[in-house]
């Protein structure tokens, strides 16, 4: 591992993102538009918007970073740049942490914009602090990124990579408590939802909606999200093979 190479990789990934104006625009503007749409859908019902809006702030970074990273990593694999990098002194961890850093920064900007809109003009008023909301949002982004990196190893084309979104992310979205509260689900579904990482991402936002202090439950949520991201990155490192058939 080498800080210079990690930082250079993060800078390179951000430069690639920066050069793609349309993706940047979609990444930053779509969550804001969806947030405004949601506000409109609930017709200013502050109680429902207060609950669902905050959870969405936790879900956006997860979903978008999952998608962007899985495609970016797949490109790295298919364009031969990964094969080349693995013949250089670059450590696998340099590459993975470089990605995590770059997409973490992108997620921070994305979450900051969406939060500014939700907490400002749209009047979302969580009990927890803005810092905690942003921290959890970025942790969720890193989790989405790490899972995206991992699944990209199992995709042979960009078509397949994109299909992993409905396959991996939609079930988590259905079961995470956003659509229906988890304690009202069938026992089996609730049990499944306890092993899905997005459940904790969304539960953390729920905690922040209710309490102002850094409660034990919130801490557990954060730890699970960060732990799952680390586990996915470690598994992802295992899929970066220097020697291939």
């Amino acid at each position: 591992m080498n800080a210079r190479v990690t930082l250079a990789t993060a800078r390179r990934v951000l430069a690639q993102l920066h050069g793609d104006h349309r993706t940047v625009a979609l990444l930053l503007i779509v969550p804001c538009v969806l947030m405004a749409l949601l506000y409109w859908v609930f017709d200013g019902d502050e109680r429902v918007f207060g609950r669902v809006g905050l959870m969405l702030l936790g879900v956006f970074p997860f979903v978008t970073m999952f998608l962007v990273t899985s495609v970016a990593m797949l490109r790295e694999r298919t364009s031969g740049t990964l094969e080349r990098l693995l013949t250089t002194p670059l450590a696998k961890l340099d590459l993975l942490l470089g990605y995590a850093l770059a997409f973490g920064v992108a997620a921070l900007v994305q979450a900051a914009l969406a939060s500014a809109l939700a907490l400002g003009p749209l009047g979302l008023d969580p009990a927890g602090s803005v810092t905690l909301v942003l921290t959890l949002a970025v942790a969720n982004a890193v989790l989405g990124m790490a899972l995206g990196l991992l699944v990209s190893a199992f995709a042979q084309s960009e078509f397949q990579a994109v299909q992993f979104l409905p396959a991996f992310v939609l079930p988590q979205l259905l079961l995470c408590g956003l659509i229906a509260p988890r304690d009202q689900m069938a026992g089996a579904l609730e049990a499944i939802s306890t092993v899905l990482p997005m459940t904790y991402a969304v539960d953390g936002m729920n905690q922040l909606a209710r309490t102002s202090e850094l409660s034990g439950d919130l801490l557990v949520d954060l730890l699970v999200v960060v732990g799952a991201a680390a586990a996915a990155l470690a598994l992802g490192a295992g899929t970066l093979r220097r020697r291939t058939a």
Binding site: V5, A8, S79, G80, T81, E83, T87, T88, P89, T244
Partner: protein
């Protein structure tokens, strides 16, 4: 400078259900330009991948600069240019060079010299995706030159280039060799054979000839290296 840079013994590689390389034995001298020539599909890329240590091998040994191929200590001493240009198409030429310089741990200002060497100094600011195929291949080569490796392995670096540019690149290869770099350059066109110090002729996963162009001519009695190759293959088949 007569030491051995690459030594291959009993190398066997299977890809899919096919045996692509079947028991190769040869050595490549240091400080020379060795050409790896053979028709499309004969296994050149597979052999090159084995030498740079990214190919899973079934049997045999590949020793590079005195160490097993792919050893960690070799990663800063061996430069590899893949057959398809492996640079970031969505970054500028300069940004690609800057990134690979960081990865290789060399000063970023080496980029200019590398670009000069591949005659692309005027395209620094262009996005790689908007360059021609041959230009992209040269950016890919420039990124490998940055590290000033002791061994440079190039997979078909001159495909699609005009004759002038090809001549200039071969000059560059020989300049590098004169300064002590070992080069292994693959090609599927025989007219590049005469530019090499040594030749490895390959066919269907086997080495069918190994020597200098002059030796090959003498052995086969053919003036033209393409004829020489045909005669070698016929002799093997007979």
């Amino acid at each position: 400078m007569n030491s051995t840079a690459i030594k291959v013994e009993g190398l066997r590689v299977d890809r899919g259900h096919r045996t692509v390389l079947n028991g190769l034995d040869f050595a490549i001298p240091a400080g020379a330009v060795t050409g790896l020539l053979g028709p499309s599909g004969c296994g050149k890329t597979t052999l090159i991948r084995s030498i740079v240590g990214v190919q899973r091998v079934k049997a045999g040994t590949v020793e590079v600069l005195g160490r097993p191929a792919g050893a960690k200590a070799l990663r800063s001493r061996v430069g590899y240019v893949t057959q398809a240009p492996s640079v970031y198409a969505d970054l500028t030429v300069a940004a690609n060079l800057r990134y690979f310089a960081s990865v290789l741990g060399v000063p970023a200002d080496r980029g200019d010299a590398a670009l000069d060497a591949v005659a692309l100094a005027d395209r620094r600011g262009d996005v790689v995706g908007r360059l021609s195929g041959g230009q992209r291949a040269r950016v890919s080569l420039a990124c490998a030159l940055l590290g000033e490796p002791e061994l440079l392995v190039l997979d078909e670096p001159t495909v699609g280039l005009d004759p002038l540019l090809r001549r200039d690149l071969w000059r560059l290869f020989h300049d590098l060799a004169a300064r002590g770099t070992t080069l292994l350059v693959s090609s599927h066109v025989m007219d590049e054979a005469d530019r090499c110090d040594r030749l490895l002729l390959m066919r269907e996963g086997a080495i069918v000839a190994d020597g200098t162009p002059a030796e090959l001519r003498e052995r086969t009695g053919a003036d033209d290296l393409e004829d020489a190759f045909v005669r070698v293959v016929e002799a093997v088949a007979a």
